[in-house]
Symmetry: C2
Subunit: 312 residues, 2 copies
Amino acid sequence: MEVDEVVAGVIARAPRAIARAISLVEDGDDALPALSAGVFPHTGTAATVGLTGAPGVGKSTIATALVRTARAAGRRVAVLAIDPTSPYTGGALLGDRVRMQEHATDPDVFIRSMATRGHLGGMALASPEAVRILDAAGFDLVIVETVGVGQAEIDVAAATDTTLVVLAPGLGDAIQMAKAGILEVADLFVVNKADREGAAEVQRELKQMLHLGAARPWDPPVLATAASDGTGIEELWAEIERHHAWLACTGALARDREAAVVHEVRALAAERLASSVAAELTGDEALRAQLRDRELDPYAAVDELIRRLRPG
Amino acid sequence: MEVDEVVAGVIARAPRAIARAISLVEDGDDALPALSAGVFPHTGTAATVGLTGAPGVGKSTIATALVRTARAAGRRVAVLAIDPTSPYTGGALLGDRVRMQEHATDPDVFIRSMATRGHLGGMALASPEAVRILDAAGFDLVIVETVGVGQAEIDVAAATDTTLVVLAPGLGDAIQMAKAGILEVADLFVVNKADREGAAEVQRELKQMLHLGAARPWDPPVLATAASDGTGIEELWAEIERHHAWLACTGALARDREAAVVHEVRALAAERLASSVAAELTGDEALRAQLRDRELDPYAAVDELIRRLRPG
């Protein structure tokens, strides 16, 4: 499939073309600029929801439950699970996607795990590009789910319109979340596995933490769910819709999206320039020897490399 | 304190100068290149250990126990806790460092939480620079502890000589770890809270996962600890020493360290160039409007910005 066929297929909402386009993103393919240029004019209508939280809190189960609710509300919905799959472990662990099989025959649902090791900029750059493809393919809602809960994952989730942070009893407390810098990016908190012991404590502790912080224009609600049997999912869905309406009517939606694309352009440029620098450094054994022998420190090496890149 | 005084103080092992130097790194201060140039020739002797794992597994407790063991073995030891403290939560949550107070009066122990939001390159760039300061200050062992367990945290831990991955029963299973790409960076696994229910299962599951992978030159051992009462810490210390000896005698130590500094130079250069690009983009309202109105896609915007940066 040529890239213009892929673009046409994405816009025509053809599942094969959509899958192919995301694979191109995953691989950091040379066709990416053409793909990006092709789909970009068709984007901007999807609402995006980021889903982050520690491993084991039930993010995938919540995503599945949200898909069900969104479908009942007549929305076309896509789930993009950002899976930094390693060469060591391979793709064999993506079996939990099997849970999503109930939607397998629904043409208005698209579920995809995306490994990002092939993309030079990692998940921070692969994720927004993949989201735009799904947006151009006419999905009303795109859910972006991360695996871990580190800085990169928080950044990816925070780049969406609505960021959902999921906690569960026994899986790291609110103080740990605060230390990871996660509280401030959340638009909605979900305490999942609310039927388990300790769930009320997690909610209480979280609310206390939130009250310690400065007041913000949007006060993030703390919800309780037991996603495996659907408890609380309707309320969660209503809060997601309420947050999106709030973003739209305050003008925050347009502002946040512009900030996100500016941030992305900056990161893309950095990645591209870093590749030039790395090629220069790889080709210069003498410079590497100076670094190794501690004759030239990293900052001085950077000065030298940038000088070569940008003469005059 | 001028930067040359700071450098002299670090080399003279003065705690105030060391603390000041790390603050300069934290803030991304303009004096950083001079500081880096000053300390770099004095580095290369410290052994570095990275400590990563999900929130709540007991990383800080293990770090404290290792400090005690290292001191008993006559080593000077520093702990650098990479804390991406947010403006929202402030620094008030670093109270768990209080646990380290037993070493507060020991001049051969240095413990420091480092926020990294001021440093443009985030923890990936702040951490190696801070480690070099501690190395130049004559610490034999530098322990780098992360808060979360995402991609950025894994990268930071993996940039050390010996990477310790900590798990605990009930806090995300080995499959979740594998999905986060953490298995392949580990030199040592520690199942902490080994006195709790489920610890044996975590160990067994982890060993099974490891046997699924391809054979590697170093076979990472799986240890059990209950760090709060010191159980298993002597064995952990012995394994850290054994791993370091293995790195040194196979030549992997020198090779890994060169790769790490090359990687760092690449990232530093990228960050510097990205700042130039961002300044250009910020100053160009027309270009931002084209992005906003979807007339120019992100890749095309990058092309345009790099063209301006690098004429001809």
